[in-house]
Subunit: 354 residues, 2 copies
Amino acid sequence: MNGTTEDGVVHVGGDARQRFHDSKGYGRPLSGNTIALAPVEAAHLLFRGDLDAVDGVGFQAFFERASDRDPAFAVRFLVYADLRSRGFYLSPAIEGWVPDDTDFADFVVYERGKGPGSGAVRYRVRVVGERDAVRIDDVAAAAAVPETTVLGIVDEESEITYLELTDPDVAGDTAVDLPDSIDGVLLGDRVLCWDAPDRLYRSGFFGRPLSDRDDVGDAGAVQVSLVEAAYLADRGTLAVDGGSDAVVACGRDVEGERFDRRLATYTRLRERGVVPKTGFKFGADFRTYASVDTVDDLGHSELLVRALSADHAFVPRDLALDVRLAHGVRKQMVYSVVADGEVLDWVAVGRLTP
Amino acid sequence: MNGTTEDGVVHVGGDARQRFHDSKGYGRPLSGNTIALAPVEAAHLLFRGDLDAVDGVGFQAFFERASDRDPAFAVRFLVYADLRSRGFYLSPAIEGWVPDDTDFADFVVYERGKGPGSGAVRYRVRVVGERDAVRIDDVAAAAAVPETTVLGIVDEESEITYLELTDPDVAGDTAVDLPDSIDGVLLGDRVLCWDAPDRLYRSGFFGRPLSDRDDVGDAGAVQVSLVEAAYLADRGTLAVDGGSDAVVACGRDVEGERFDRRLATYTRLRERGVVPKTGFKFGADFRTYASVDTVDDLGHSELLVRALSADHAFVPRDLALDVRLAHGVRKQMVYSVVADGEVLDWVAVGRLTP
């Protein structure tokens, strides 16, 4: 059976509609029994030997020709073939071929056993090569749709990693009753509260005692990070020379704009009843606790949070690293999308086996 | 008991030599019973209440004054105090105070139960704040000394992470008998060998078959990454239009100088009998196998490798991320230090509990 290219799609007649579309979910019906196949679908049918030739050429020449026209064809084919081999029917997200918005996704994958026309969408999949940058604001918008949005990342050796993008529930029930005025002093890139009330650390989980040992003096001294100090100074809890402005200035001095992104994220997390602590050991900005009564009875931290500028573009490798690490320590990887000192969005990214 | 600052160190008389130096490993003996204490040592003795005052002031004022003079004083103090609380004696690496080279380290830590003058060095510790950049070539030089070199990283909340720097054994026994000439074609940012001999993938572990399934055609097609293709083309194994130069040009096009660093590292690993495969899923450049007979009997990959330029400076957070991930997947994190297309050094970084 043969096909011919017309207007960028491959037309196949004969019993193609019954054989390929109705029973296997390929293509889109045209008039009569003819169907239109996207190049990636035609390539897959050639690959399987179900089609003999398109425009007189076989799989190899068709594949090379399509790759010449579109350098991303190979990675799209690899993901298409992989999802097919996992037993899914899927359609290229061409306008008019699939339900609803198709801006972000390359493929619409149907529920198992379902196909085009069923409307039963399981995943929307965006295909990227490991070297393709992906903007976080695009990701955030895509994560907000009801169906599961997936990044299918094809690495340099053509292995595929699927990452699920979701809208996380960033909320906790930690209430902190802060004291009125604690004196602090800026020392280098941290703040020392020499005589902090016990509850600053014990129930508020701000800072860290200078010493956890009982046999030394100055046990009341608590070291507070710059981002914690800026938050506390802004609320009038911490009295420091120059006020919160001085702390923020110091933060920008040592971290640049990253400090503003982190402070906005820290503040929003606290407002939502979630306690952020440094995520340094995990290479993240924060790890978070949804419920802190006292630090003596601290649960597992649930999220790893990285604060990103809204115009940030991911390198997929960095995304893979974050998600792999978070998975290994049983936490959810969450990105905050920050612009003009405000958190616009949260995006969770996790591993997925389709 | 009181001290006075002279020439940047704190002099203490009385029975200080016996009480602080001989029995507890603080300071360096001067004439008679007087000893000199580095500021960090004096601060620790003030903190413990063993010293009452230095220049008439107590711990808090001494600490603030020292921090004003040297913004890194606080992080050094934190690491000093932490190592003391773990039961070690240690000396500030001041020239003449400690054995041998002191360029990299801030502290020389002695074997448990040993002190200054014993020569029994357990660790050399460099203290950095989480925002301080660390050059990879400094790290590589430090990793080459016989004693264990350690980075003590103080994060923004003053938690300390210790990382051990070592000279790894990068060697394997994989021998590959490559065929003479395999045809390949550059498609986008990968190379396809439509008709590759079985052993290219099965025993050489180059590339990846286009399909792992037996029920499809073109099972002989193997996709090869650009770095693999450049290596194979350079050795005359792969015939591709334009030769290895064309592959390298394409690599630079999509990755810039990173491609050259990765190719140098890939080549050196292969020369050492180690098989590198993509480390994408781990956010690294490569994962490596020391012994590959056949891909059907593949062991656990031992190393994660990241190729860095010799003038690269780490952000400690990225280092923490890499090491944490590698630990979680039971691999060793190794950096290759590359300049002018050659691997100058290898450095392994791992977690340490002193």
